[in-house]
């Protein structure tokens, strides 16, 4: 029998060497992959790494102030004290109260009706009887009940909702939760925040203001920033907070920059207001993840000079961890405070202007707001001393109350409308001095010409009468100066027909009627016509049109500011100044102020004889027995003026009614003028009666204020 040969294969070391070779091959594969990842593709991974862990925060700068010419603050940055919750610090251990509150709010969101338990109830329940069920809703109505059943079905379909038993929450229109089930659950940041807010609310006695959804949104997208649970808290609340809540973790007082306007309504149109800034546009390559919103000027000077006032926001690079909590600050560039403006406005004169404008005269409806505007200029340099529009609004309320903003939209008297600049009105008879100047410049002899103001007067087939016909007479034969004093229309008609439209148009253009006043383009009515005369009509279509325009009606319109510039130019003898609002400015609070120079737009060549005649006529308007504005007269001051009453038709309901815009332009003192005023009241009786007394009051206040007149005993 052949013995089976032991076939022991020679255990050659080849297998071992092969295995070692394979091992080393494996190691070098790892090494080459490592090279590829770490060296060749490094930057790609670094970018991914930065994207997921570095966040940029924008920090707003303190906004600059606006002062009046004497340094009185007109717009100020004030701290708005808020109670802030730092959600990052709320990584507290599990809390049954927090879980209960979170569940309660989630149910509340689903049903849309507040539950029947308070925070106090929940705390007591969990303290005393934590194992008993807690009744959240005692009696739901059928709609709520239906909604709940539907929502709960969807909610509990995917997973079990702890604290809610799937079978028994649906009993007799009640919702019951089992707090014992919530005991062991770890709490979310939202739940902790909710508990903290309830706790603070209970301690300081102020109701909760943020909604659960706000909290969740904040934690989701803005976690490293403070959540402002209460804004604008008063000192009492702050004291209570300091007294009772300082032991709580995760809450602090946060100071948010806010804007206030001490003058309130008086300068609302001119200065404007601020609102929360828009989410900022992403600069190229620089993504901003967390934007602590600053404020941004939205109207008036706040908007025009926003760039100067708002300063430069700072930036902060923050590294966050995987849950969005701040790990460390990588880099901070502090914000640069905004610059300041000092205006030419004198807040006293501004106040006088408002008071004068809004004081009601006899026979005016006390229930309707006075609609009008008043501009006071310094004729010697174009400084705007006052610029008032009425009715006005309170920017301080406007910024805070959405309801107020909405109510303003419905207000028929257009409270936010800046009448002094944007308002375009037919200037009426206040245009006559200008027309007269134009004619006298072309024909110096027109001084001698007399025209007869008859009772009946026709231009072509159309009757065009002097306003005096209402009193049953004409003015008779009048010259230029008398025509201005009487405000005689017929004289102007005849004069216009005799010399044509061109001289009137040319001088109006030189005075800036129909042109930009030179304030700032975004603050003025845009000019639509593309002709070199701007909004000023280039030609008269026919004689009626010509006659209408000669008395400042028809197609001629001007803003109160433009009429103030006109009268200032007449007062100073032909220098048309750009209205200057900003006296000085600086780009940062550490800098010196820089002057904003006065600037004459042009010198208008007017013969002094013509000027003398027109000024004389305007003097007579106030001081002559038969002048139209005798109500302006003040003992001890010589005043020149011109009234205007521009008729227009307006629809009131279905009726078309005739209404009158009443005007006065004026300057004073007559010999060395310091003030040039244009005042307008919509829908008045006549220039002399409606505006005259107001103008007198304004002058009286101003001259008492600057010492020309002794202060009246009052």
């Amino acid at each position: 029998m052949a013995m089976k040969v032991r076939s022991r294969k020679e255990a050659s070391p080849v297998v071992i060497w092969t295995i070692l070779g394979l091992m080393l091959l494996g190691m070098s594969v790892l090494g080459s992959k490592l090279w590829q990842l770490q060296v060749k593709r490094k930057s790609g991974f670094e970018e991914v790494f930065n994207n997921q862990s570095v966040r940029r925060v924008r920090l707003p700068a303190v906004r600059g102030k606006i002062y009046d010419t004497h340094g009185t603050v007109l717009a100020d940055s004030i701290p708005n004290y808020c109670i802030a919750i730092y959600t990052e610090e709320l990584r507290a251990p599990r809390s049954t109260v927090a879980n209960t509150l979170e569940l309660m709010h989630t149910i509340w969101q689903k049903i849309g009706a507040p539950p029947d338990v308070t925070y106090h109830d929940i705390k007591r329940h969990i303290e005393l009887t934590p194992d008993e069920p807690l009744m959240l809703y005692k009696k739901l109505n059928d709609t709520q009940w239906g909604r709940w059943q539907q929502q709960f079905g969807e909610w509990s379909e995917k997973h079990k909702v702890p604290g809610l038993k799937t079978h028994d929450p649906l009993v007799s229109n009640q919702i019951v939760i089992h707090t014992s089930e919530l005991k062991k659950r770890s709490t979310t940041t939202a739940a902790n925040t909710l508990e903290l807010i309830y706790e603070i609310s209970e301690r300081i006695g102020v109701p909760r203001k943020v909604r659960f959804q706000d909290i969740k949104d904040h934690i989701y997208s803005q976690r490293p920033l403070p959540l402002l649970a209460w804004e604008n808290i008063d000192e009492e609340t702050m004291a209570k907070w300091a007294d009772r809540c300082s032991s709580l973790a995760g809450t602090d007082i946060y100071c948010k920059p806010d804007r206030t306007y001490p003058e309130g309504e008086a300068l609302a149109h001119l200065i404007g207001f601020t609102l929360e800034a828009d989410a900022i546009r992403e600069e190229e390559g620089e993504r901003v993840h967390f934007d602590i919103r600053g404020i941004r000027g939205r109207k008036g000077l706040e908007s025009t000079y926003n760039e100067l006032l708002e300063g430069e926001p700072g930036h902060q690079l923050v590294q966050i961890d995987v849950s969005g909590f701040r790990y460390r600050d990588l880099q901070t560039r502090p914000p640069k405070a905004g610059g300041d403006l000092q205006l030419t406005i004198d807040s006293n004169i501004q106040r006088f202007a408002i008071e004068a404008l809004t004081t009601r005269q006899d026979g005016e409806d006390p229930n309707l707001p006075v609609r009008g505007a008043c501009v006071v200029l310094d004729p010697n340099n174009g400084d705007v001393l006052a610029m008032a529009s009425s009715p006005s609004f309170d920017p301080n309320i406007y910024m805070q109350s959405k309801r107020y903003r909405q109510s303003l939209l419905k207000d028929t008297s257009a409270r936010t409308y800046h009448r002094a600049v944007f308002g375009q009105y037919p200037p009426g008879s206040t245009f006559k001095p200008l027309a007269a100047l134009g004619v006298l410049r072309e024909n110096p002899d027109y001084n001698e010409v007399l025209h007869d103001c008859r009772k009946g007067y026709k231009v072509g087939k159309r009757r065009m009468r002097c306003w005096a016909h209402k009193r049953g007479y004409g003015h008779g034969e009048v010259d230029v100066r008398q025509a201005l004093m009487y405000s005689c229309n017929v004289f102007m008609f005849d004069m216009a027909q005799a010399v044509g439209y061109a001289p009137i148009r040319d001088i109006s253009k030189e005075f800036g009627i129909g042109q930009y006043a030179g304030l700032f383009h975004d603050l003025e009515t845009p000019i639509q016509n593309n002709s070199k005369y701007g909004n000023l009509p280039e030609k008269a279509i026919n004689t009626v049109d010509l006659c209408n325009m000669s008395i400042g009606q028809g197609r001629i319109t001007a803003s109160p500011l433009q009429m103030a510039m006109t009268v200032a130019t007449i007062a100073n003898g032909g220098r048309l100044y750009r209205p200057r609002l900003v006296e000085k400015f600086r780009y940062s609070p550490d800098e010196e102020y820089r002057d904003n120079p006065t600037w004459a737009i042009r010198h208008i060549n007017i013969p002094s004889e013509a000027l003398e005649i027109v000024r004389g006529g305007m003097y007579d308007v106030v001081h002559h027995e038969e002048g139209t504005a005798t109500k302006v007269r003040i003992e001890g001051v010589k005043i020149a003026g011109k009234t205007g009453s521009a008729q227009y038709r307006k629809k009131v309901g279905d009726e078309v009614v005739d209404r009158t815009h009443t005007w006065m332009i004026s300057y004073a003192p007559f010999d060395f003028p310091r003030y040039a005023v244009a005042m307008l009241v919509e829908d008045g009786v006549s220039g002399g009666n409606t505006v005259g007394p107001r103008l007198r009051q304004l002058y009286r206040s101003i001259f008492e204020y600057d010492g020309t007149l002794a202060r009246s005993k009052s």
């Binding site: 089976k4 032991r6 076939s7 022991r8 294969k9 255990a11 070391p13 297998v15 071992i16 295995i19 070692l20 091992m23 080393l24 494996g26 190691m27 594969v29 790892l30 090494g31 992959k33 490592l34 090279w35 990842l37 770490q38 060296v39 593709r41 490094k42 790609g44 991974f45 670094e46 991914v48 790494f49 997921q52 862990s53 590294q319 966050i320 961890d321 995987v322 849950s323 790990y327």
Partner: protein, 387 residues
Amino acid sequence: MNGIQFKRLDWAMLGTIFILIILSAAFIYSAQFKSEEAVGTNWIKQLIFAGIGFGAYTTIVWFDYKRVAQFSWWIYGGVVFLLLLVFLFPKVNGAHRWIPLPGFTLQPSELGKIAVAISLSAFLSIPGRDMDEWRTFFSCSAIAGLPWLLIAAEPDLSTSLTLVPISLSIMLYAGVQRRLLLIGIASVVLCGAAACLWIKYEKPPEGLPAAKGQILPNMPILRDYQKDRIRVFVRDDHDVAGAGWNKLQSQIAVGSGGLHGKGYLKGTQNILGFLPRDVAPTDFIFCVISEETGFMGGVFMLILYAILLGRCTWASLRSHDEFGRLMTLGIGVMLFCHVFVNIAMTIGLLPITGLPLPLMSYGGSFMVSTMIALGLVQSVYLRRRIR
């Protein structure tokens, strides 16, 4: 022949082990480091485990490894008993893998691998064993198969899979049905590749949008979480917020390390928690190392492991007898599997598995069992053939 002759010790291997242990403590400290105030204590525990492991190491080196061959069936029986015992304890993270003991938890599957290497080597090195007999082949399969089944049932698929190359390399070297084994290996590799392709193009699980070409029906056998790992591996964009998160974050960590790394204790991926804190000191320790020390550090680690593996093979070549040769080879392959699979998954070459990095990853029973294995190698080398 018990006792230690210091002159004959493999000092290169011992030195490498010491360096690795020190690095391990340092990087476990770093993986837990969040700030000066928040420092974990796991690195101390790791040093304690290393101390216990070194005790076991010294003991094993002291004893002649031939004793191990004599007791191989007892060892095998004990480990199988432990593997059965595991099922009596409640599931942790959905698996019966651990036996809770006071102070630490025992993971018998780690010992299982060594036991298989020992008993297989002992079985095959008995003089007169006929390698061509089918009985030998089936016995070998049974020896490796029983722990394999038990570990796979825990379930711990990745550990059970490392049993395959260990057993295969031992059997191949011994010469058991070489042709069949090679054919088997080739077909398994093919099947694996086919399975990966299938999973790549099968319909995605519910809730995830189907990418282009994902039309094949669901593959049986594998469970969804196992498939998920393969999906993450075969599709770069698979469920980045969920199953793909660890892979992506680990790649970002390694990739952002660059050539020189971010510096010790400055591995932001792990400080900021993008690399999950529970896996950073364990399965993803290599990720922490290569983020903080960069390519240079990573390659240094690879070289250390290459030295370790080279010394194991060298011990195998110089072994005095067949048993020592087979056992050290098996242990070398086991270490290699761990090193390769762990690092490869960290850098995205292989699907994410739970295989720790020998001597580096935090964990008591793995540290001790690795030290036992290395002690066996040292013991074989100490009693080597002298030329």
